[in-house]
């Protein structure tokens, strides 16, 4: 048994299309791994399958030795695995405060929910001033912050982040990524970060995985990946 996230021989199919083929990966506890790939590389599929939104056709996935396959997302949240989905993973019709409250709704330890809420608001102070606003009045960056803050209130161990930079301005992307890196360091979070924006993601990652058409192309430290001119040209785009 390995600690952390261990995925072995993982395949996901949509009808006749194989979105992910025989993928294996291991994320050590406390590590931030960036999964890089273009549209259709299977990276979102990977994260959706790991969080229980879709079912893989074969393979296994374990978190700290416990199988996570066949469980619903709401059960995985209770095991410390929180998926922040692509784009604006908040409920627009609810207020900021209500969106935050959702993250702690299922938890028994209401004192710690209150503490976690304060911690989250300290990390994203802009949210504190908008608690009673509906989430759909927030900017894209603020919504992303709200989604991350809500996840933190669940006290996650493993954060599955799907394209947090999507549709955001470069300056905001920078802010969000600094925050993610900070979370990894402050809370010892394990992070699987799926990104098209390779440069931003590799800046904060301990390790990068490059996916193409559902297959693992290369894995290595950001420095190793960036040093490879072929990879840079074909997948990293910078």
């Amino acid at each position: 048994m390995k600690l952390g996230l261990e995925v072995i021989d993982f395949s996901v199919e949509y009808g006749a299309i194989r979105a992910i083929q025989n993928l294996s990966l291991h994320v050590v506890p406390g590590e931030l791994v960036a999964v890089i790939g273009s549209n259709g590389s299977g990276k979102s599929t990977l994260i959706r399958a790991l969080s229980g939104l879709i079912t893989p056709s074969r393979g296994s996935a374990h978190w700290n030795g416990i199988s996570i396959l066949g469980k619903k997302p709401e059960e995985l949240v209770r095991q410390g695995i929180v998926h922040i989905s692509e784009g604006k993973s908040v409920i627009p019709e609810l207020t900021v405060a209500e969106n935050l409250a959702l993250g702690g709704l299922w938890r028994r330890d209401k004192l710690d929910v209150a503490i976690a809420t304060q911690e989250s608001l300290a990390i994203f102070p802009v949210l504190a001033s908008r608690l009673n606003q509906r989430a759909d009045t927030l900017s894209g960056g603020e919504r992303q912050m709200l989604a991350i803050a809500r996840a933190l209130i669940s006290r996650p161990q493993l954060l599955l982040l799907d394209e947090p930079s999507l549709g955001l301005a470069p300056l905001i992307i920078e802010q969000i990524f600094v925050a993610i890196s900070h979370l990894q360091n402050q809370f010892g979070l394990t992070v699987l970060l799926v990104e098209q924006n390779a440069m931003s993601a590799l800046k904060i990652a301990d390790r990068g995985l490059i996916l193409n058409l559902g297959e693992l192309v290369k894995t290595g430290t950001p420095a190793e990946l960036i040093a490879d001119p072929q990879l840079r040209a074909a997948y990293l785009g910078f």
């Binding site: 939104l53 997302p73 019709e93 609810l94 409250a101 959702l102 993250g103 709704l105 299922w106 759909d136």
Partner: protein, 296 residues
């Protein structure tokens, strides 16, 4: 005369509101227009009727009828809708199959009632008088039972309103209805919460049936027309909005009462459908419908 008509309108409007509320609760949790709603409500009412016949106690039969309505709603979701929605996942049938199935369920429930209690009219008696209040020599058509209808409906709405606005369960219910996937990812047990939505809907329908029936008679089809009004009210309100359902019901009830009083009974339903058409043409999302498109 004006006040009399208004009071009667509020009393029947309150019932439409409850029916509309029941429809909206199911729509919000499962995205299904539940045509079995009137069947569920009438079965719950029969259960209340049976208890009152055996115990001669309306006040005991009422909460038990409501409880039966809630259990029935929950069971229909668990044993019927979930299986159905699980099987019909894609293609044109996926959207319409559950709705058609509720029509089938309606027939099933009403036949079942006929089998147990027969199709004859029954009297579900309430200790409250169905004769209008008397002021001096003037008797108005608004009776103590009508007053109770208004109070009971207002209580149900206040309780639901408070649950939705101030409790964790209410937050989970709203989150699950707006964005089920995001709610799930936040840890909300969406299918359980949906089931509670069905139970609430069943309870609301049972209240409607058990408080209105003492003013007339009980038969397997006795709530069908009420359901139609409730449906119109729900659509006027936007099908998605609890406030809209209540307002829609009251507007319709008061409107019907005035038409009945000043124009005649033959056109009331005609007017109801005209209102429905006008609302659908001018504001397809209803008066209180949200502007944001939601993921079904």
């Amino acid at each position: 005369m004006f006040i009399d008509t208004l009071l009667i309108g509020i009393s029947s409007g309150a019932i439409y509101s409850l029916m509309a509320l029941a429809l909206v609760l199911v729509w919000r949790s499962t995205r299904v227009v539940n045509f079995a709603q009137s069947g569920q409500a009438v079965l719950s009412t029969y259960i209340g009727y049976e208890i009152s016949v055996r115990t001669h106690n309306y006040w005991l039969s009422l909460p038990l009828a409501i409880l039966a309505g809630a259990i029935l709603g929950s069971l229909i979701d668990l044993l019927f809708m979930r299986l159905l929605i699980g099987r019909a996942k894609s293609g044109p049938i996926a959207e319409i199959a559950p709705v058609i199935a509720t029509l089938g369920l309606l027939g099933l429930i009403q036949s079942f009632i006929g089998l147990i209690w027969g199709n004859a009219f029954q009297q579900y008696a309430s200790p409250l008088s169905a004769k209008g209040f008397t002021f001096g020599s003037h008797t108005i058509p608004f009776s103590p039972q009508n007053l109770f209808i208004v109070i009971a409906s207002a209580a149900v709405m206040a309780i639901f309103g408070a649950i939705f606005k101030y409790t964790d369960l209410g937050l989970a219910l709203r989150a699950a209805s707006f964005q089920p996937e995001i709610a799930q990812l936040a840890g909300v047990r969406v299918s359980r919460v949906r089931n509670i939505g069905w139970a609430f809907a069943g309870a609301a329908g049972a209240v409607a049936g058990a408080v209105i029936t003492p003013t007339s008679t009980l038969s397997p089809n006795s709530l069908d027309l009420l359901f139609v009004s409730g449906f119109i009210a729900a659509v006027i309100g936007g099908l998605d909005s609890l406030v809209g359902a209540v307002v829609g019901g009251l507007v319709l009830g008061v409107g019907f009462a005035f038409i009945l009083q000043y124009i005649g009974g033959s056109v009331t339903f005609l007017v109801g459908f005209i209102i429905l058409m006008v609302v659908l043409l001018l504001r397809p999302r209803g008066i209180f419908g949200h502007k944001v498109n939601r993921h079904a």
